[in-house]
């Protein structure tokens, strides 16, 4: 049986001046999966996601989403995807409700559908009481949630999330996870970038680890983690060294003095 791919990336490159931010990334994301994209700061995750979603033109390489070329047919691709970008630059002078209305209508949903879905999403994300405030007055967590609601409004087939749980309260995190599970069970694909290993391990069935703009590990969660944790697999893949705590012994100074005094007594 042939695999249906939600996203296929081949030989993706992007340079910013002298810096090679993405240096030849290949990705194949099976449809209907929860896919984790990991990497240390500056590994090229956000740049890769920006290129996959059509916000940044690659220097080289191809990107196919649901079988469509992002750069040949961006209109069709964008109709089928939802994105919560890393930097949430929203329309500051719309209220939360107005923003969702705007996005829904822009996606050509009829008014009743927009209203119905908008209120449901606001309710699930705990934003109903704050939805008439201007986005400019939203907290960081609220901005993340309203951005997620905007990305979900049209029930996308592929959803890209860049640090979706950052600054979000635990109850909302739980609701968002349920919401995302529902989406995946319905056949959608979620590509998810985060630094919280426990969340990625519990949510994702596939994972790719980037470092210095290159894929350093990729596969099913079981294949990448083996018998250990995702955090260990990540540390091994990016070649992280353990911190020499002894060099910071002054941080434990007060406690060390007390322990020493106790020993003398």
């Amino acid at each position: 049986m042939s695999i249906e791919w939600a996203v296929q990336v081949q030989g993706l490159h992007k340079c910013f001046g002298d810096k090679h931010a993405v240096a030849g990334v290949d990705l194949a994301v099976p449809a209907g999966t929860f896919y984790g994209l990991l990497g240390p700061n500056g590994a090229g995750k956000s740049t890769t996601l920006s290129m996959i979603t059509g916000l940044l033109r690659p220097d080289a390489g191809s990107v196919m989403v649901s079988g469509m070329d992002v750069w040949a047919d961006p209109v069709a691709v964008k109709a089928s995807i939802g994105v919560v970008p890393e930097t949430l630059l929203l329309f500051e002078r719309l209220s939360g409700r107005e923003l969702l209305d705007y996005v829904g209508r822009l996606r050509r949903l009829d008014r009743n559908t927009v209203t119905e879905r908008r209120e449901q999403l606001l309710d699930v994300l705990g934003l109903t009481d704050e939805a008439d405030k201007l986005v400019a007055d939203f907290s960081q967590g609220m901005r993340k949630k309203i951005s997620l609601a905007a990305a979900l409004l049209h029930a996308p087939r592929v959803l890209f999330l860049d640090e979706p749980f950052e600054s979000v309260d635990p109850i909302s995190v739980r609701h968002i996870r349920t919401l995302l599970d529902t989406l995946v069970h319905g056949g959608a694909t979620i590509i998810f970038s985060s630094h919280v290993m426990a969340t990625v391990q519990s949510l994702c069935d596939h994972v790719t680890i980037l470092d210095h703009g290159l894929v350093v590990a990729s596969g099913t969660m079981a294949a990448v983690c083996g018998d250990g944790s995702l955090e260990d697999a990540f540390a091994t893949a990016v070649g992280a060294e353990n911190l020499d705590a002894a060099s910071l012994s002054w941080l434990a100074g007060q406690r060390a003095i007390e322990v020493e005094a106790d020993a003398h007594d």
Partner: protein, 526 residues
């Protein structure tokens, strides 16, 4: 930590921040110091050379008061000036507010404006009549310098505390824009003001200003320069008390900032706009969404309102030659109302720019950007036509020229469609982000004179496109009949409508295929 050490640290921090600017910023800063030195020396020379005039002390008092007021207003116009050293940034450190205030005064004494002011204030010593008068004048200069510095810090702190709510911020932005425009106008009229300041008026102004707190020390300086040392002392004393009061007010404001007493007030949008239903009934969903959002943006963003306000005087000036026609009650004046739509044309050359960084929402939510572009243009057209209709109806009611109302609207529509076609092209092909806050020259994101230049070039192209139609409709209306003018007007509108539709379609298609370039241009990274 002792206050002296903190002062040393804060002064060092400021010097380091100044030194860490880009090459261009450093060059501009050096230029600012050179200009301050030059201007300060020039004014100082004038202070000394004009000492022999009969009303010399009135003049001295008046201009010192203007100087003090200038220092109070400057932080408003420059958006806070020293953002690098706003007090909020020190709130986590173990220091008292008073210590911080003293240290901030020390840091504030570094800068080109202070250098210029110090030179000018130093020059008032040249007005001394004897040794005692010189001592009093030196005290006046010292008190004034400290007062203006503390006063400007107070202005920044008050802004910081008062503008924590968005409503206040937006309101203040508009007020600042209006002040800036008035200041610009006043600057242009500077020579007239100087001419207007006759000795009698200067004396009258002094008689009022001397009783206001910021006029106390200047009054003491004026009197000391006349040799009236004894009568100067109470004013100097009052000026010193005023300095203490300003310092204390500053300390309390800083304390409010530290303790979070200055709270934010959010705006709540709790009603649906009436026009929304009308727009929804005439436009498809995506166009309606963009149309409504653009109208909301224009209504809620003070920068948009400031733009309109900025071009209003231009329209008024353009209308001035028609005053005679209005006075004579000539019905043809109704046609002049079409000029009101030009304000919109002036302000439409960068329709994505005001909330440029949010462009990604448009790009991600609508693969085809044509409806977004069209909605934005239609919002501008709505704003352009409404004042034309109101203006035409008002002038028709006054002159009885009701038959000119429709030709007037058709002329305005012809010009607007041409202007909006150019606007759409420029908006999509050459977008640039407009910063939320004031941008100093040399700062990233500053566009210099580019926006104004693009508006003028765009308007010129629009005038060329619409000129045949506008001229034909105007000529037919005024020389033959309003009916013929209406017929010609309909043809003119059809001609520019065709251009408008063509440009919107091609620009929308172009934008849809060049999202990354537009995202780049509309972000502050570029």
């Amino acid at each position: 930590m002792p206050t002296t050490e903190l002062t040393r640290l804060v002064v060092g921090l400021k010097l380091r921040l100044l030194a860490s600017g880009s090459g261009l910023q450093t060059s501009l800063r050096m230029l600012a110091y050179a200009v301050a030195l030059l201007v300060g020396s020039g004014v100082a020379a004038a202070v000394i050379l004009r000492a022999d005039r009969t009303n010399a002390s009135d003049e001295l008092m008046f201009w010192l008061t203007v100087l003090a007021l200038g220092w109070l207003v400057t932080p408003l116009l420059l958006g806070g000036g020293e953002a690098t050293l706003t007090v909020d940034r020190f709130s986590l450190f173990p220091i008292t507010v008073r210590q911080l205030n003293v240290a901030m005064v020390g840091a504030s004494l570094i800068g080109a404006p202070v250098l210029g002011t110090a030179i000018v204030l130093g020059a008032i010593l040249g007005r001394a009549t004897d040794a005692v008068s010189a001592v009093v004048l030196a005290c006046c200069a010292l008190v004034m310098l400290t007062t203006v510095v503390v006063g400007s810090r107070l202005g920044i702190a008050l802004m910081s505390a008062g503008l924590r709510g968005r409503k206040a911020r937006d309101g203040a932005a508009l007020i600042v824009a209006v002040i800036a425009m008035l200041a610009g106008l006043a600057f242009q009229l500077g020579f007239f003001i100087v001419e207007w300041l006759t000795p009698g008026r200067l004396e009258a102004a002094r008689s009022v200003l001397r009783w206001l707190p910021f006029g106390w020390t200047p009054e003491a300086a004026g009197r000391a320069s006349d040799g009236q040392v004894v009568s100067a002392l109470p004013f100097l004393g009052a000026g010193t008390v005023w300095l203490g009061a300003v310092f204390e007010l500053w300390r309390r404001t800083t304390d409010r900032l530290f303790t979070g007493a200055a709270t934010a007030a959010a705006i709540v949008i709790d009603r649906r706009s009436r026009i929304e239903g009308v727009i929804a009934s005439v436009a498809p969903p995506a166009v309606e969404a963009s149309w409504m959002r653009a109208l909301r943006q224009i209504r809620r963003d003070p920068r948009e309102l400031a733009q309109f306000a900025g071009f209003m005087p231009l329209i008024v000036i353009m209308a001035l030659p028609s005053l005679d026609l209005i006075r004579q009650g000539d019905p043809r004046i109704v046609l002049a109302s079409s000029m009101l739509g030009l304000i919109v044309a002036f302000t439409s050359m960068n329709m994505f720019g005001m909330d440029g960084p949010s462009f990604a929402v448009d790009a991600l939510a609508s693969g085809d950007l044509t409806p977004v572009v069209l909605g934005k243009a239609l919002a501008r057209a709505t704003l352009g036509i409404v004042p034309v209709v109101v203006g035409a109806a008002g002038l028709a009611a006054y002159t009885g020229g009701w038959h000119f109302v429709i030709p007037s609207v058709l002329i305005a529509t012809t010009a607007l469609l041409a202007a909006l076609a150019v606007s759409v092209y420029v908006t999509v092909r050459y977008p640039f982000v407009v910063p939320e806050k004031t941008m100093s020259i040399g700062m990233q994101g500053n566009q210099g004179c580019l926006p104004g230049l693009m508006s003028m070039i765009g308007l010129f192209v629009a005038l060329v496109i619409s000129a045949p139609g506008v001229a034909a409709t105007t000529a037919a209306s005024t020389l033959v009949s309003a009916l013929l003018g209406t017929l010609v007007g309909v043809v003119s509108v059809a001609y520019t409508l065709w251009i408008f539709v063509y440009v919107v379609k091609t620009s929308g298609r172009w934008a849809s295929l060049h999202v990354p370039e537009m995202v780049e241009a509309l972000s502050f990274r570029s």
